[in-house]
Symmetry: C2
Subunit: 343 residues, 2 copies
């Protein structure tokens, strides 16, 4: 039988000590970490970037198919992704959790193993947090700090007309992973004896449950002396992010359906579920890729990186935000994908 330690056996302070006992410090700027009123961070000559995300059970994640370790990992990743989207390097995080008494200390250990793995991989320090009981469900609040050389940060609102619009990696996979897991859950609820059929779908399931943040793209920019004119991460869905950048930069855009980076495994999964891969790529969220705009003269530089796709360009605002399909038709892009859905 697995060991179950009640959280009440440790108490709040005992729990924090227990959960944070193995954390190593990776950043010289971390002067004081967990265990005081606040952490202390040294940032001589750098600018600090700060971002935060709140994740609530039943809204952002479903523990019936999300392992706690993966949830811990992803809770960190979604915040690091925001830091990279500023062209900055993440350095510290705080993690607050609200937990009901249905969680054991062992369950929280699993969750923190995921936090720990992400901290180790991305070399960030856990420097604080808060642990509380919640009446119901699991609540996670992560704040990430990062640093960037003065005025090297990249905003959403600074794209220029005629810039290239680029996306890292591929999009739509996380949404298809979610679709698969929700479908298998529904089958299981009806017939608890049936084993989930996830064979060959590890790519899309991995995109959902264990996403990575694009540290490599930021490193590539630095190495090749590239500064995007605007950037953000793809969390709500590609079309939603395209509209953020164009609206905040007061621009229009032209996107080409055939240029959207869709993984072969995602495409196959979409066909299996009778979904349009393009619609999944545009409106599916949680890919944690980067979308950014570049001056046209930087085009040569990015051809060096196979993991960056040019999907279109920015236009004057009066030209609207449009997508050209493979068949040559033009549609308006909406936050939900494109207007063709309405027709």
């Amino acid at each position: 039988m697995e060991k179950r330690t009640e959280i009440s056996d440790l108490g709040e302070f005992g729990l924090i000590d227990h959960l944070t006992r193995n954390f190593e410090i990776y950043n010289a700027s971390t002067i004081i970490g967990v265990g005081d009123d606040a952490a202390v961070i040294d940032h001589f000559g750098k600018q600090t970037v700060v971002t935060t995300d709140l994740l609530i059970e039943g809204i952002h994640f479903d523990l019936s198919y999300t392992p706690l370790k993966h949830l811990g990992y992803k809770s960190v990743i979604v915040n690091l992704s925001d830091v990279y989207a500023m062209n900055a390097q993440p350095t510290q995080i705080t993690v607050s959790i609200g937990i009901s008494n249905r969680f054991s200390v062992e369950a929280l250990d699993e969750f923190y193993e995921g936090i720990y793995a992400a901290c180790k991989k991305y070399k960030v320090d856990l420097v604080g947090g808060d642990t509380s009981s919640s009446g119901k469900g699991f609540i996670i609040s992560v704040t990430a700090l990062g640093e960037v050389a003065p005025d090297k940060f990249v905003q959403r609102s600074t794209a220029q007309q005629g810039d290239l619009i680029c996306v890292s990696g591929d999009v739509g996979g996380a949404f298809l992973g979610l679709t698969l897991l929700e479908r298998e859950k529904a089958i299981y609820m009806q017939s608890p004896g049936v084993q989930p059929d996830l064979e060959g779908e590890d790519y899309i399931v991995g995109k959902l449950l264990m996403p990575e943040a694009r540290k490599d793209i930021i490193a590539f920019f630095e190495k090749n002396n590239i500064t995007p004119t605007s950037m953000q991460d793809v969390s709500d869905g590609l079309s939603s992010e395209i509209l953020h950048i164009t609206k905040k930069s007061n621009l229009g855009c032209m996107i080409f359906e055939e240029k959207l980076p869709i993984h072969e495994k995602s495409r196959m999964a979409a066909y299996k579920f009778n979904l349009d891969p393009t619609a999944c790529a545009l409106s599916g969220g949680e890919d944690y890729e980067l979308i950014f705009t570049l001056k046209q003269e930087d085009y040569e530089k990015i051809t060096l990186n196979e993991d960056i796709a040019v999907i279109g360009y920015t236009t004057a605002p009066e030209e609207g935000t449009r997508i050209k399909t493979k068949g040559g038709n033009l549609y308006d892009i909406t936050a939900q994908g494109w207007n063709a859905f309405k027709g």
Copy 2:
């Protein structure tokens, strides 16, 4: 009839724009605030302090007697208090909220009015956050950043043997305010026609619902060239905080009951509820005062400030953590107050 705007009418991004539309920037270090993946903060030559708190409806607050504006104010204060407890100046906050659909936009406006009032009073900038739906209840996560001159921060673990133990303001009031409001709520639940009897109790109710952070004490330290040897804020209760400092600093202590700063209004309320004022002062939480230790030679300096009480001194660890009563008896201090409760 009061106007009720559904949150769904604005959408998530519209809601963030709406709630943050009036925020002014107070700190030159705030380069980018709300509205991008992350905020950007400049900290040339200073050290950054970061702290975070998670507040959950039904656990940390009861909306049946907590006005939303006060809740917003207090959500900021509890974090600023942690920053001051590091001997630092708060500069920026992020605020994330999870809300169920029982809240209207007008209700959130009230909450943000409180946030805004605290930001204005303490000159801190709201630089980001996350807004999410919650299945049930109101969830608040605030992270505060502050700055401190290099190595001027004060930890909990650095008290020395023979230091004076001091407390700002008075303690126990917030607990008595809570006791009063819980009592009135119970009466109201039984007899909804009975109006709450809060006459003359505005002091203790104010201590609970609208606490302040001790910015003035930190300013007094700076002006008088005082550096406490250790410090933390009083959130869980005075005895709990005394035990934190002595445990982390590997010391014992002697506290004198007659020196505990208890406001006359708190004392009267305690008698009214048949409670021991000393027990309320030791074990009641949420006062957001500062507890700190000082070298004995700084005693003269603090006599200038009537809002600082010396309540005892630190001893060798083998002498234990004790309190001497007015009657001359010695008891061990426990996180719940003192051991006399058990006898």
